[in-house]
Amino acid sequence: MVVESYPIAFQQIYKFSKFFFTEKGFSIAVVLSKTPYLSASLASLGAQCEENIFKAGKCFLIPKLDGTSKWQHIVIEREEYINGQALYYYKFRKPRKRNLKKQLEISDVGLQAKPEKFFKDYGIVNHYADESEWLGKHDVDLSSRDKLRNKSSYFPYIVGNKLKFISWFKTDLKIPTEEGKSLADISAINVNETPYSDIQFVSQYKLNGSANPSIWINKVPPSKFRGKALVILSPYLSAFENKMIEVNDLYHDQMLIACNADALPVELRCLLSEQKCYRFSLFSRGFE
């Protein structure tokens, strides 16, 4: 996707988000947008980052290869090279006997190895999964119609209305050069309601204190929030005044420092000043 070929307002939010999530110095950004869900979709694409999927602790779904369409949950344990070929050992849950009550006894976990190519061709990595929970999950039945691919991309968590986000992600952008295309078409990112969606949604209450980067739509993080968050608010919100007060509280409670245009690279600064589709604020935490 060549970002420069899209409207300025498209580029602005995309590049601002990319800058905010890759630069270490900033912790909170607030964007006022008329179309908060579309902006959040663009911001999540901008914040997309590549991550090595072959790391110890990475959670995958792989086909069971037993003639069924079942997929099992596995966790990468270690890497080994045989004849210059990478081989990965993974943990999986052995079928249990009924009388065994505990979910995850040591003897329950098996260890196997498969070549890198297998994971690349068939595996589905879940960057957001927690290893301790992943192995205990039941096998899943994935129909062949589901477009499954391995992805190395990692996106911030989305805090907001899941269905609205998905529908905006799949809405025709009405850009003349990309007639009839939505963000999902342009980016080939898979967004849906299942746990295997490329972009993950999370409740605002679960993110408290977490260090995961996140994008908040029409919601403001609580003052104890310590992570990195891009907050997108619509001025059309009925509780907009309240939201602004919450942002102000956050600013005071966390002793945030507001950045001005000098904090931005020249190129981004020029881009952002070119049009007034959004209102941007950028904050760093003082003592860290």
Partner: protein
Amino acid sequence: MSYFSNYKSVDINLNRFDYEPIRIVLAAYQELKKTQSTDSLHAEINKFCRKAINRFVSGKKAYIQDIEYVKELCRKKGTNTCRLLYRSIDFIDFDLVKYQVFESFYLNNDIEKVHILLESNEGWEYHEKVIFDLGLQKVFTPISKNDLKNNFFEIPILFFALPQWLESTLIIPPSGRLHFIYPEKLDYDFKIDSHLTLNSGKSLEIFSLKNEVNKKSFNIEPIPDFYNKFPEQDTRERDPLEKNEIISSEFKRDPVNTLNILLTSNNHLFTNKVYLTIMRDNSFKFSSFDTESDLEDVRYIVSSIDASCANIQSLLKEQTKIMEVWKKPLRDQGESMNA
């Protein structure tokens, strides 16, 4: 229509028209207002007077029954101010000025095309005839509130409204050029500041938005009948400008954020309102509704507060007021159950 803006700057054009009858009505309104706290009839007159003025400013035909009601009350009261109001309220009808307003607006502005924001389809039927009669059907096209919500327009947008009614819209304007038409007497020095500011007023935004505000004025002549009722033009002289601000802040309404959810066949929820609700877990909560999904967990909607133009203090005050009314019977009930 596009989801992405393409304007580099924003022009806000205020087309203010001078209309004799509204001067008289507003003067009378102010006069009655001084005593309305002690005089319930004055309060009632002012309430309906305000309604009529709001419709006029919104570019709508007056409700005849409201006008007649004001006249009836004025007749009962019979003071000088009421007599003045009795004679002049008839002229607070957009029907009487619409031809002139559209024509003057067109002649005073260099425009090829403009969208008119409308609240309903009937609104368009109301304006359409005028526009057609003036031969301006290629210039004016309607757009609805829903269009305005997510979209940006290349063509200027015309509002029959006071600019301060649309403060939330002006934070991120839907078009690079906006036109407002309203009576000059209700002019008000509004400001669109940065919305993320410290208590000290310091902006927290990376860039500040500079809007250019252009003011234009033109005259709208009342119908001849008006001069029959007010032959001597003595009303023009005294015109206390400093009072305008107080008065115009009373005429409030945000026409953009209303009406989205159909609750039952004859009951609407407004998105710009805060409702006192009882939740599934029997707790009280103040909720606002954006979509149907916001109705989950709500068991009962008690009451509504119009938050469209309330500031945070007045909102809280209103909330406590309603809370108190509802708490007491519940408390009493709780006590009798415990007893």
